[in-house]
Amino acid sequence: MTERRLSGVGATPLSGVGTAVWYAPDAELGSPPDPETIDADVERERFETARDVAREEIRAERERTAARLGEAEAEVFDAHVQFLDDPQITEGVEAAIDDGLPAEHAVDRTFEQFIERFEGMEGQMAERADDLRDVRDRLVRALGGGERADLGSLPEGSVVLAERLTPSDTAQLDPERVAGFATVTGGRTSHAAIFARSLALPAIVGVGAALRNVADGADVVVDGRDGALLVDPDEETRRETAGAETVEVRDGTVETADGTPIEIAANVGTEADLASAAERGADGIGLFRTEFLFLDRESPPGEDEQYETYREALETFPDGRVVVRTLDIGGDKPVAYLGLPDEENPFLGERGVRRSLGPDTDLFETQLRALLRAADEDAGGQLSVMLPLVATIDEVRQARETMESVAADLESEGVSYALPEFGVMIETPATAFLADALVENVDFFSIGTNDLVQYVMAAERGNDRVAALGDYRQPAVLRAIHTTVAAAQGTDVWVGMCGEMASDPEVTELLVGLGLDELSMSAVAVPQVKRAVSETTVTGARELAARALAACTKREVDCLLTETTQ
């Protein structure tokens, strides 16, 4: 069979090989029953109930997306609630019911009018059509119109092919199992493309009608760099792609070619992530996000429940280190029992350690008790506690005092515990500037590049309009990293990095040169970065870092990095 090449728009610069699986959302509704058999009052009530169900689902989806992908991605679902409650929708559906349609057909007919209208428009408005489909499908499902096809449990190595993927569809895809996706419609700024980037998933959008001719079960290569889908790829193409992406898993510490060990750890956000981190050869956990313990429930998790979860993480990495970030939550998260404030700009508001030392101090103490108890056990790795969104030395001192008083309580109760390593995330410019004073107060730093970039460059993530600004290759960001690492040099404080930058093998050499001791990333990136470290020499890396720090523009940094990777 000869290789066929279909062009589209690459959503991520990643490639994947796999088997095509067509995703056809829900079956068409049948023809509506005889209007005589319809009781309009009953149908109106069914519609109301379905709206309540859909509203709850959207809220839950929003929470999950915020925890998994981030706030910018989650905001999409705010608009979904507004569409659900839109007077034109509700009035349209009610009128259709009065015409003798059952609720599901009334919903379908009303939404279709708007979907068609938006589809004929340009840019952002055309994408609203995807949002409307998402809301419509949810309502029709809530009315008993079919189960949702489960995108979360596809066979490993699937490449999902679809007309389009709604935000909810894309949020379900598991990058551990899915090799990529390709859609008929969509552009670089469509929700599907944005979510693909957050998930680090190879993806091609806007392939056009030609995609429909690709058979279910066909062998395909998603070439995100060139924006192409290759069907029945030649052996050579397949090998090249597989070689580029499938890197051998290495267990054990990796060293640079000239013998400096670099710790390669994984970021985890759920218990399920622990196993995949271990499978991919991570040395430990560099960022254990604890938010998942607190979301999707009616009351906060108790001390014992948390203790068990932290123990499990430590037992998964008996020879490694597990860095647990204390609760990092703010007004952008819908956690009813916390009574989070409604803030104009939650990212600059009361969140992270600010809440832990303020209104959530009880939760913070409970979390510390669980952590100190977990740190004590013999079987398992070393536990480290990390504070999010620190901006002042006082916060660090106050948090340490809280930890010490928790330790004193445990002592007097006769409960066994140990004091874990204690560190801060470097994600505000304030902590980068204060790094030389912070070294006196902590055991480690971990640079959270996603937020650091956002706050240093004043450019939000996921906003395409400022994408070039919100980039970790910006000289100002490199200098903030350098300031932090330099402050720790010659002290016992180790410096790690968690965040997207750590997972990019194209900057691994630069990070080694800047002096990072540890890099933590999503598990998928671990094999690639381990390989990149082993191919680097510290001598060469330092030269590269010196030149990058001398650069004044992102363009110069980009050029330097391209030179070295070619």
């Binding site: 608009a79 507004q82 007077p87 034109q88 929708i89 938006f118 408005m125």
Partner: protein, 89 residues
């Protein structure tokens, strides 16, 4: 009927977050509020669909019309949303 013409400042125009804020605010008032292009038809300001359909971009003028008890207060608040660059609201 109280009305005014406002220039839309947010970079996204009447989309994304500014649109969400606008619709949410308009829904809070129990009066009829309409919005549209200066020389075009007016639509319900509390409808995300209608607002999205207008396709208003940054820098364009829109006409706001309200009728009822709190018309002026509602228009003040909506004008503020349309005149505030995103992120500074």
């Amino acid at each position: 009927m109280p009305e005014r013409v406002v220039t839309v400042v947010p970079e996204d125009g009447l989309h994304a977050r500014p649109a969400s804020n606008f619709v949410e605010t308009a829904s809070e008032y129990d009066i009829e509020i309409q919005v549209g292009h200066v020389d075009g038809d007016l639509v319900n300001a509390a409808s995300m669909l209608a607002i999205t359909g207008l396709g208003v971009t940054s820098g364009e003028d829109v006409r706001l019309v309200a009728e009822g008890a709190e018309a002026e207060a509602a228009l003040d608040e909506l004008e503020r949303i349309l005149s505030t660059p995103e992120g500074e609201g």
